[in-house]
């Protein structure tokens, strides 16, 4: 059983180029200074979460790393090279499952390969394999409307896996799901990420989820979005929900929660005085 601790993983990742290196990135929307400056490094195979209040700029940062937004300032390097556009090996998983309602599950999963020009037979075979991997065997020819929210997110995950990514950017992928489904999907994600060995940037509102899944949790404050704390999670892998009751896990959750509550209180005072 693989019980590498975070320490060991940390050392390993500093020896090779990080998969993501963000320096001095800022974002402005008109006069509003929404994000930054932030610095961020994600090692290969490292799982990093960002938690923070709504609208603090987490999604903005994720989109900048995914080349869906141009930053106002700063630089982004993925796999040692500056961005020139959305990368083939970066996979993005959105909160609302971005499945196309007029395509079957298989055709949705195959979309990424289809865009890359993979032949019909080959991409459908590969898609079918992935559909099995995420546990949707038997639903290949169903349409997204016939699936539950959790199942649609699995389709999104299968598609994300189809291009053999070295980086997954997940923007609150379980946000629209109920508690039980979230727990199952978290375990699902861990399995997948373990298998592929990719780096992950995971945005979530749930402190529990962040602690369960990550090697490091970054706490983001709002107005403008910037990192106010970095909490290493020193739990053995592979992880299960039971790990959350470990004392180090509880301590981490407390620490994160204290930061967030502080931020929320500051925000409330600010809005009250603004009225």
């Amino acid at each position: 059983m693989n019980t590498q601790t975070q320490q060991q993983r940390g050392t390993a990742s500093t020896m090779t180029t990080p998969i993501v290196r963000v320096e001095g990135v800022e974002q402005h929307f008109g006069p509003v200074h929404a994000l930054g400056p932030v610095d961020l490094t994600i090692g290969r195979g490292e799982f990093v979460s960002i938690v923070g209040p709504s609208g603090c700029g987490k999604s903005t940062l994720l989109e900048i790393i995914g080349a869906l937004q141009d930053p106002a300032r700063g630089s982004v390097e993925v796999d040692g090279a500056p961005l020139t556009g959305p990368r083939r090996r970066t996979a993005i998983v959105f909160q609302e499952s971005a499945t196309l309602p007029w395509r079957t599950v298989v055709d949705n999963v195959a979309l990424a390969l289809e865009v890359r020009g993979v032949g019909r037979k080959e991409r459908r075979e590969r898609a079918r394999e992935l559909v099995e991997v995420v546990g949707l065997g038997g639903f290949e020819n169903h349409y997204p409307a016939q699936l539950s929210g959790g199942m649609r997110q699995r389709v999104a995950m299968a598609r994300a896996m189809s291009t053999g990514p070295d980086l997954i950017l997940a923007d609150e992928p379980f946000g629209a799901l109920d508690e039980q489904t979230r727990m199952l999907m978290a375990e699902e994600l861990l399995r997948v990420v373990e298998k592929i060995g990719c780096g992950v940037l995971f945005i979530t509102h749930s402190i529990q989820e962040a602690v369960l899944l990550s090697d490091r949790v970054l706490v983001m404050g709002a107005r403008p979005g910037r990192f106010i704390d970095e909490v290493p999670i020193d739990l053995p892998r592979p992880r299960a929900h039971a790990a959350l009751s470990e004392p180090s896990a509880t301590a981490a959750q407390e620490r994160i929660w204290a930061q967030i509550r502080n931020e929320a209180e500051v925000a409330m005072v600010a809005t009250r005085s603004a009225r």
Partner: protein, 268 residues
């Protein structure tokens, strides 16, 4: 300095200006270019004055018409009154029918298919029937215009009534509201944005129906001014009338839109 974008073009934020102008100014540019083009073409001599006159002359004649008492009273006011009458009639009838449909499932099932296909049927074809039955006075026009615009009011008001959230109806029941209280305090306010949308469309349709009927059947009214001018080869009055009608329709729709938006709680 701006570096080049790494974002695919179709996800980039829309520019606020193109060639220095924001989009509303470009709208103005389009209108001005069209007006100038027509003006130049009309004055160029390439087209006969029996076919086209310059925009400036259209506008000056239209303004003259505003000063002509006979025009204002016989044509403009008459059309305005007909439009108002049919609009009010279709508004009241439309909301009432929609409410009836929302309350009674039988009425809903009976009327809905007709609402859906109504605008596919050329209701104008009924005008000759109405004229023969009611004469060439105001009655056929008001009837036809009301009939034409009531259906769109029904369609929109119905959407409004039916999209009242179920929780609101439960609330009404738990507070033991009477039917009329429920209508006034829950249903109408909830349906209001859609009803307002229906009213705006209802006015647009009433204007179209009244003016089109006047135009085709040339009795009196704003529409008839254009018809008569065309048949008399009076291009000046014809174009002036067309400009007048167009501006009138536009202003009336904008005015009602602005007035109704004040009640639309979705726009707050």
């Amino acid at each position: 300095m701006r570096r080049s974008s790494v974002v695919p073009s179709y996800v980039r934020p829309t520019p606020r200006r193109v060639a220095g102008l924001p989009s509303p100014l470009w709208t103005l540019v389009f209108v001005l270019v069209a007006v100038v083009a027509v003006e130049v073409y009309a004055r160029s001599g390439a087209v006969s004055r029996l076919d086209l006159i310059p925009v400036s002359e259209m506008l000056s004649r239209a303004i003259e018409l505003l000063g002509d008492r006979k025009f204002v009273v016989d044509s403009l006011l008459r059309s305005v009154l007909l439009i108002c009458a049919s609009f009010v009639a279709s508004a009241v009838a439309g909301v009432a029918v929609a409410y009836a449909m929302a309350r009674s499932r039988w009425i809903h099932r009976a009327v809905k298919p007709y609402v859906n296909v109504f605008y596919a049927l050329p209701v104008f074809a009924l005008y000759p029937v109405m004229v023969v039955m009611f004469g060439t006075g105001v009655v056929p026009i008001i009837l036809l215009a009301t009939l034409f615009s009531v259906v769109i009011v029904i369609a929109n008001a119905l959407v409004g009534f039916e999209s009242t959230p179920a929780i609101a109806t439960k609330l009404a029941r738990s507070l033991e509201m009477s039917r009329s209280q429920q209508l006034r305090k829950i249903l109408l306010p909830s349906a209001l944005p859609d009803i307002l949308a229906g009213l705006k469309l209802g006015l647009a349709y009433a204007i179209i129906a009244v003016l089109a009927t006047e135009f085709i059947l040339a009795t009196t009214g704003l529409g008839q001014v254009v018809n008569r001018a065309y048949n008399n080869f009076d291009t000046i009055d014809m174009y002036a009338g067309i400009v007048f009608v167009s501006v009138f329709a536009l202003l009336a729709n904008l005015a009602l839109g602005a007035a109704l938006n004040a009640f639309d709680w979705r726009r707050r």
